[in-house]
Symmetry: C2
């Protein structure tokens, strides 16, 4: 009851469509459902299902590289866990993808001051020749500086780009780092570079480099590409600052290794009234191999599972289904999300709303959405239930739900984004430090509470959120 | 002038020997010298000689393992740097020590949940057999629990001890970690263990293990011994908690490799009145190989050098000499410090006071000393000059000056300890994270200011601090 004033305040604070609330086509949530959602929220703050799931997966099947032995093992593990947790239906849908393997990696400054460097190969990097690739460093502060460089200054050399990221709540600097990692090697190769090194796409100062996929444009020869830890990047910069030519040697044993057919593993609580319509959530099951994949993204599935488990314990299933997906191979190209979109995009209206979790489990501080205008009041009702969790509703930003939902959103699925505090996340992301101890159980419970509320109310809402073929075409460019 | 009230207040606050200040044998510092020390202190807060030294050594000659190629290179580097900085006399004194080498190291859980573990061999560990050492884990929470264990429970197994350290200003938990690391493997071997793993002697949660020397007691067979990073230690504990036998495989290629003759490199500002008496300071030149040895202990020498450089810029040399030593091979057994003590201990009265720097360069928060009672007033005078730096004088604790000075102190040298804030230090100590970026230039300058004051006033003091053969026998047990 103490929430009522807050909920009312929030409704009045949303000017857009409130005036039209009496009109037809408005999506609404019944007060009784709000009350249930509040109880779910409060119960989630005392529930450790998500923690237990994350602890189990990251302890028993860590390092879930797509196409590795742990790809199958992790699907078996999560299938068994979904069944054990009481989902009504558990199944898999095949996904085929190319496989990249990492065998070994090392680097060193050869001259003028010989020393080891800490590096990790980027996903999709080819190997260096046997014995390693030695070359002179040519350094750039940013990707734009590399883009602007004459090919003659780069040809035959090992390009180093030292762009930096700052830790921020909204994690926006990952745009700098991920763009450099994804496109830098291809751009360098296009100018004739022999190899590529970047300062890790991370915000930390640990001696742990950040891996992640790179991508070579069509017609560009793949070149060996690796990330230096931040202290190693700064060491290279100090050596370069002395003004002598700096030669490094890079030895990467890694590369593409055929294709593999894995699967998206899907679990569903079947709806009691419109079971063929569903709220879509989950996280990706694969991880990089350096860490245990606890924060990226065992915990994302854990949050969904924790929320669904609480809803499953209600006396009655909600009207619509709740679908949790453990997506295959997100890291090397969102293969699971794309496969899901290909299979289910043609019935996109059934996916009434989607929201993935793939940014660890630190506190969610705001919600945003891309939905039809007539459902904004319902979103505001949901936001009012989330408000005591410290979650604001940003009505300007248009959240798209997450990478694994991009294909579905593009097909026309309405989406909600839960924005997590990314201040800590990009220190650990894609490094050996992606381990369970980085998850704060209290903040994790707040995440579960938010998803329990969202999933339940989306599944119970009287009316939809606008999912239909092509519903949100043209809105993508806004953020 | 603004310091005078503080200085007076501090003098009155030291009750012990102030009453007897008129008596003979009291060591005193002249007001004019205090004024010079205050100017040195203030100049140090704007001087970056220590930073430049540390940056140079850790960038150009990182990973200074005793007996490695960098052992000689670093001595050449520091010799040249001492000369360049204007010391009056620079020389080396040979030190011979056994050499231990690390070639490669890896570990994994074999069953029930196969996965890589991040480990590093302990100094003095032998190699595992070719192909690695596989065995079942037997776990203990503390070294005491291992000591209490029956040999039958340990025999043939790989012992794991999971003792934890908490980050504290006084760093006292390093006692727990270093005792475990130093003695654990020998105790386990004495009970018939095949190998030894410990949770790293560190306070961090990074995926970077802490190396450091272990020591096998006479008659005990050396066994392979390594440290797990904290997240890996906790992962092993989670796997063990599931109640099944846990098998690990350890592959260490490392071991003893003959003996080597390196050297302590010594630089001196020659005193203007009693040049054969000297204030003794410095740090150790060797480092572990995982990091660049910036905080342990390039910066320790850097602090001494920064302080001496400021004193060298005065119009006149102080009465006594100031001697800076870059000690050889501290890490594997204080070989340089012991050699220095063996050579110079018989003339210990000439070393009027000693204070080493070997705990990084975070803020010094207190000073303590082991000196003759008649010099406590002089220490209080020094403390008054340090007070504006945020440094308290702990008259109860008896600082012994540092590991490389232990032999000299045991021989009878008076000593001062500058206690640094160790809150951050033991997160990085002996790991790959020992890099320049962990040093805060502002806190480093405070360190230099403290040492400039101490060195100058010890060299100028009218009277000594009690150094003489056997002076402090029996005082060691007090802390």
């Amino acid at each position: 009851m103490r929430l009522l004033p807050l909920a009312l305040a929030l409704c009045f604070a949303i000017p857009a469509s409130t005036d039209a609330s009496a009109a037809g086509g408005q999506t609404r949530i019944a007060p009784a459902d709000i009350a249930v959602a509040e109880r779910l929220r409060d119960a989630a703050l005392k529930d450790d299902t998500a923690w237990d799931f994350t602890e189990g997966l990251s302890t028993e099947i860590p390092m879930r590289m797509p196409g590795s032995a742990n790809d199958l093992k992790s699907r078996e593990w999560v299938t068994a866990k979904f069944k054990e947790l009481g989902f009504d239906k558990v199944w898999s849908e095949p996904v085929t993808y190319p496989v990249w393997v990492r065998r070994s990696e090392s680097a060193e400054i050869v001259s003028p001051f010989p020393q080891k460097l800490v590096v990790t190969a980027l996903g999709n990097s080819p190997a260096t020749p046997p014995g390693g690739l030695a070359g002179e460093i040519v350094a750039f502060p940013t990707l734009d500086a590399l883009k602007a460089a004459a090919a003659e200054s780069v040809r035959g050399k090992i390009v180093y780009v030292g762009a930096r990221m700052v830790a921020r709540q909204d994690g926006k600097d990952y745009g700098i780092g991920s763009t450099l990692r994804t496109n830098g090697p291809s751009i360098a190769s296009g100018k004739g570079a022999a190899g590529f090194l970047l300062r890790s796409a991370g915000t930390d100062h640990e001696r742990l480099p950040h891996t992640g996929a790179t991508r070579f444009a069509d017609g560009v020869a793949p070149i060996p590409a690796a990330a230096l830890s931040a202290p190693d990047a700064e060491q290279i910069e100090r050596v370069l600052a002395r003004g002598q030519p700096v030669r490094v040697k890079l030895a990467l044993d890694c590369g593409m290794d055929g294709t593999y057919t894995g699967a998206n593993v899907i679990a569903e609580l079947r709806g009691s009234k419109q079971p063929d319509e569903y709220f879509l959530t989950g996280g990706h099951l694969d991880s990089w191999d350096l860490g245990t994949g606890a924060i990226d993204d065992a915990v994302g599935i854990g949050i969904s599972v924790g929320a669904a488990k609480l809803i499953a314990q209600l006396p009655q299933r909600p009207a619509r289904s709740i679908r949790v997906v453990a997506w295959a191979n997100e890291e090397s190209g969102i293969h699971g999300g794309n496969a899901y979109g290909e299979k289910h995009g043609k019935e996109v209206a059934r996916a009434v709303l989607g929201s993935e979790s793939d940014l660890g489990a630190d506190r969610i501080y705001k919600m945003s959405a891309t939905v039809k205008p007539e459902s904004r009041d319902a979103l505001a009702q949901i936001a009012a239930v989330l408000k005591p969790l410290g979650i604001d509703y940003d009505t300007q930003f248009q959240g798209k739900g997450g990478a694994d939902l991009a294909a579905m959103h593009k097909a026309g699925m309405a989406a909600v984004s839960m924005h997590r505090d990314a201040t800590r996340y990009f220190a650990w992301h894609h490094t050996a430090n992606d381990t369970l101890d980085k998850i704060d159980p209290e903040q994790l419970r707040q995440n579960v509470a938010a998803y329990a509320v969202l999933a339940y109310l989306a599944a119970q809402a009287d009316g939809d959120f606008g999912s239909k073929p092509g519903a949100f075409v043209g809105q993508d460019k806004k953020n």
